[in-house]
């Protein structure tokens, strides 16, 4: 009955790791389908290349020529600067809007206008003002990230349970203590979900920023490869963007686990 024991072990392993197995299977199926489409259905490397080609191209660009690194660094820096700047600006401004009706009234029309205007429309203006250096690129990323962070910080503080505020009054807590011990921790999950929303928008911002007058960066790489019909490099660039997003998401999830241990489950 050795094979029965083997079956039981496999079923048990599946039950314990079902979610990880589902994810791995999903990725594997996607890659196989991609390869099939590229190698059999399309069969034209000018349109679509197999994931195997992308991997070998990426390997070459990372470990043989090393030409991918400058692009990775350029994009990472622009992203990080823009993202961090929007946290530094967005979170406090969101709090101020939540706590002060006057700030809210003054900021609201600007916020809605800027939020709903397509950012890509700002890109040429920002290039004109800030030049083609890092400044305009960081600004484009910033414009993408700051609103979800600001709006979530604002909203998180606005929807704090009224009973908690009464509790603070009942315990005769000072305003600073109310902010630090109740309002801030209560809005933390909202801020973190704002950070998650901002991640994708920030990476989009990087791509847009680097299409305009850049000389390095993943956006530039993708744009240039597209212009020169270099399909393998094009896919390496797109994949690198995707991986940056995944890494950012995982980092945020770790932060979320550490910062909000009272939450039973976080969105995976």
């Amino acid at each position: 009955m050795a094979s029965d024991g083997g079956m039981v072990a496999i079923v048990g392993f599946y039950r314990d790791n079902s979610r990880a197995i589902h994810k791995a299977l999903s990725i594997l199926c996607g890659l196989v389908l991609w390869h099939y489409l590229a190698a059999v259905v399309v069969a034209d490397t000018a349109f679509l290349v197999s994931p195997l080609t992308v991997v070998s191209k990426a390997y070459e660009m990372l470990f043989v020529t090393g030409e991918l690194y400058p692009h990775l660094f350029a994009s990472s820096w622009i992203f990080l600067y823009g993202y961090l700047l929007s946290i530094v600006v967005g979170v406090p401004l969101g709090f101020l809007m939540a706590l002060s009706p006057a700030v809210r009234d003054y900021a609201h029309p600007w916020m809605t206008t800027l939020y709903t205007t397509p950012r890509i429309a700002f890109a040429p203006v920002l290039l004109l003002w800030l030049g083609i250096g890092a400044g305009s690129k960081v600004a484009i990323v910033f414009l993408g990230c700051v609103f979800p962070i600001l709006i979530n910080s604002y909203y998180g503080m606005r929807v704090v349970d009224r009973e908690f505020v009464e509790l603070a009054r009942s315990l005769r807590m000072k305003r600073v203590a109310l902010f630090r011990k109740i309002l801030l921790p209560a809005s933390l999950p909202f801020i973190l979900s704002g950070l998650r929303l901002a991640l994708g928008r920030g990476l989009t911002g990087v791509a847009i920023a680097e299409w305009f007058g850049a000389t390095a960066g993943l956006g530039y790489l993708v744009y240039f490869a597209g212009q020169t019909l270099n399909v393998p490099v094009l896919f390496v660039g797109v994949t690198a963007f995707g991986l940056m997003g995944i890494i950012g998401f995982e980092i945020l999830r770790k932060i979320e686990d550490l910062a909000t241990p009272w939450k039973t489950s976080h969105p995976r």
Partner: protein
């Protein structure tokens, strides 16, 4: 006879209604509570009893009248920490453990961290939650959450405990257990309690005195002394005096509900 620890003089609260006219929630409340007394306020839904409790605690200002604690007039929420408030929903901070929730009221009050922790532990122990200090609220049942809520209010060692329908959201069985627990805790702490409820039997079981509110605008309709000896347990519910008082109170509240326009208007 002990002197009054809480004294309400002609207390009232009104807000501006939808049509711009003043809307009276309660008015003309004169009430005096002795040290160590357990007083319940019962009345039809929406009679303003919860609002009055919040006014007494300084959570919302009165429109008129005065509140005295130990002979000193209370003004707003700026004063000393003399009253502990037990909220209807437990109002526990989900990011704090039981212990840290109880500690909330002790922080920044000049106590040493170790001393404050010891006090918090003592009151968690009193409400029967030793061993659950490091649990987060979502890991506790509704009854346990209310115990933490009570421990938090007791830990600041207030002169008066204000309880706003603390067992209303619990299932009937848990509610009965919590009522017995409150009897035990009250007999151990000898706190003055002002307890708001809409459950007549709960009020009789727990109280020394019951104040019946009229329908809106809330005024004191009548007061009753509960003629039952202590210590009490569930047996007391079949006592003839308990049943008689329950009937009397029920008739009063029924009258109030009818005067307010009937059950459908509740």
């Amino acid at each position: 006879m002990a002197s009054a620890i809480l004294e309400l003089k002609n207390l009232s609260r009104e807000v501006t209604g939808r049509n711009g006219e003043p809307f009276v929630i309660f008015r003309g409340i004169n009430l005096s509570v002795r040290d160590g007394e357990f007083v319940s306020i019962v009345g039809p839904s929406g009679c303003g009893k919860t609002t009055m409790l919040r006014v007494i605690n300084g959570l919302i200002p009165p429109s008129g009248g005065q509140i005295f604690v130990d002979g000193r007039e209370q003004k707003g929420a700026g004063g000393d920490l003399l009253m502990g408030f037990v909220f209807q929903g437990a109002a526990l901070l989900p990011w704090r453990t039981s212990l840290n929730n109880v500690l909330l009221g002790l922080e920044g009050r000049g106590k040493s961290p170790a001393g404050a922790r010891e006090l918090a532990r003592k009151y968690l122990d009193l409400v029967g939650l030793s061993g659950f200090e490091q649990h987060y609220p979502h890991e506790l049942s509704g009854g346990m959450q209310q115990r933490v809520n009570l421990a938090r209010a007791l830990a600041i060692e207030p002169k008066i405990l204000l309880m706003d329908e603390p067992f209303a959201a619990l299932d009937a069985q848990t509610r009965s257990f919590m009522q017995l627990e409150l009897l035990r805790i009250w007999s151990q702490t000898k706190k003055t309690v002002l307890f708001v409820t809409h459950m007549i039997a709960e009020a009789i079981l727990l109280s020394d005195r019951i104040v019946v509110f009229s329908h809106r605008p809330g005024t004191i309709r009548e007061e009753f002394r509960v003629p039952l000896p202590r210590p009490r347990d569930m047996e007391v519910k079949s006592d003839r005096r308990f049943v008689e008082l329950e009937n009397t109170l029920w008739k009063l509240i029924e009258e109030e509900v009818k005067a307010a326009g009937g059950f459908a208007k509740l």
